[in-house]
Symmetry: C2
Subunit: 405 residues, 2 copies
Amino acid sequence: MSKVAIFGYGTIGSGVVEVLEKKREYIKKQAGEEISVKYVLDLRDFPGDPIEKILVHDVQVILSDPEVDIVVEVMGGVHPAYEYVKSALLAGKSAVTSNKALVAACGPELLQIARERNLNFQFEASVGGGIPIIRPLYTSLTAGDASGIFGILNGTTNYMLTKMFDDEMSYEDALAQAQALGYAERDPSADVEGFDACRKIAILASVASGQFVDYQDIPTRGIVGITQEDMSLADLLGYGIKLIGRFSVAEGKPYAEVTPMLVPFDHALYPVKDVFNGILVDGDVNDAIMFYGSGAGKLPTAGAVVSDIIDITKNSGRTIQAGYSAEKLELADLSACKRAFYVRVAGAASSDDAARAFASSFGADSYTEIEDGTYAFITEPMTRAAADKLCADAPGSVNIIPVID
Amino acid sequence: MSKVAIFGYGTIGSGVVEVLEKKREYIKKQAGEEISVKYVLDLRDFPGDPIEKILVHDVQVILSDPEVDIVVEVMGGVHPAYEYVKSALLAGKSAVTSNKALVAACGPELLQIARERNLNFQFEASVGGGIPIIRPLYTSLTAGDASGIFGILNGTTNYMLTKMFDDEMSYEDALAQAQALGYAERDPSADVEGFDACRKIAILASVASGQFVDYQDIPTRGIVGITQEDMSLADLLGYGIKLIGRFSVAEGKPYAEVTPMLVPFDHALYPVKDVFNGILVDGDVNDAIMFYGSGAGKLPTAGAVVSDIIDITKNSGRTIQAGYSAEKLELADLSACKRAFYVRVAGAASSDDAARAFASSFGADSYTEIEDGTYAFITEPMTRAAADKLCADAPGSVNIIPVID
């Protein structure tokens, strides 16, 4: 019998209780022993809820109970999640979290404490909701290095971009609809500024490389500034636009970024629409593999948490994943890399000749126009600095977006 | 130091040697110890090849060497692969195979021998080449039952169907092109008759259900009989046609089949084209998740084999996966299930009224025609028996294909 304490009785926490209860027999078979919830920790009361009798408000009750084998942190935020999980590990309990902010900020320290004590700190649900991606990275794609990870990691922005592309919605209308459906917060900045995707790609990059990739080192640009005109122009050029979290290794140098990218129609990530996530992993041994599914949802995310609980229960007394070391991976400077860019010029009535000349200065043979003075083209491979320099001479306002490589 | 013997020095066998050699340091880090190849078994000689000095022709040399921890069976076929792997397990060695025929035919017995001796018998590469699917099924999607698996599991037929759909090729030309590119054998029946997909879905169904699903129980229909006209008609109706291996549980009853299916344009499996594989797993806890990638290839497949070797090395002395029991899962009769079918009628010049009346007898409001006398429609949900009975009155030759559900 393995006993679990759950920190936080919100959507995911109540989902974990529900899954462990409803699938009790099935999970017992998977784990080799019964898994039961001994405590739920929350500041709130839940009168009438069956968990009322195991609800505690004081984390010390859990930390000091030697019967608790595993704590499950699903509160969100870095504090006090960090203090609670660290205390639990120091008290000899393994920990599972769905909290990307916690893993991105404190993963190296928590993994190290777990390793030193033959415990486990697992976080499958922190990226991609119910899509298995963390565990496949360290148990299946183990024969070679991951040379590139390209992920649509944020369902909210993917939903908005899909509405803008497929239904020709404006950015503002797409955001309003995402908010109305509960996909986006009233303050949508964590999603639309790319902060959420940034933490997720930092976690994937850390697991894939085996070294800590600090999310604060990752150049991050969200979808603010992408217009419906960009969607129309990209479409005419043969591309969609997706918000991509990317980690790659080229000539031994590691790169990471979060940015909108133009994705050609025949690319595996192109059909990833609405709130779905898709994570493409390329390697020096494996070919490109995509993991695809809904990146959120109460039960699927809870299911990923429960899969970690089962894995830890099956492996009691031993650290099963290396996770990654606390040694920081120094990212190389992406701006020195040559790649193709989409350049959109708007707001200036240019002659055809002027537009053609401007596109030509980027090595583009042609350009695509949607209305007088708004046009776009794909550059030949160049550094971002070179593209920016050429754009200083633009006949109107410009938007530069890299093309996926 | 873990020592490995490889049975068979063909494409995958030489790939395994190559990966273990080229990625020696990386793999050592992943496995926690060095993994080296002590023997390669093959009937042939390979003069000048570096493996020459570890090549043996007699399996007994390997079976009687206590230094060999893991044997890797990549010869293909059931015999003598079965005898060699069984003997190795009985001699206290774990085993890895990429051989779907062996797993489908002898998996229950080999798994049982491994379990009884705290050894492992693993077969990640037997389905989907380098795509991780077996291990995610038993280590990640563990919180709930898999209620449905729909897989494009055979790259050769998917390539042919793609050529027929996208390039309007005839079946014969698509097959000839697949053969010219080395995707299809001179005798293509294992692919085009669905036998390969049948063994693969049997393995997935066994792992997902925890009980032995006998491939011989699975109704199997290949792509023979699919015409270019079917492709055009499906396209007009809003579908592609894919060869699907399917395992599902509905109202507690397990079903399995291999059959071409109509797949709507907005379905996750629709964009899986050319030689790619895609496996969709739906569950009572997880939402639908797709694993996508190239289902073959020397290094990716070898990489999947090596991931099994690493997993076994990390878990020396303990059986890490339940696999599935030798108890056979009795499949329910699919022909009693109601579902929608595509019905194509060809070769009889019918009046519009006659075609409309025929479609209407299946509950279809309308039909789609490509030339006089060749038309198709989608039925309302009905049993296959009911559809067959109605087709007895068809005004021409018919082709009936289920629509994916």
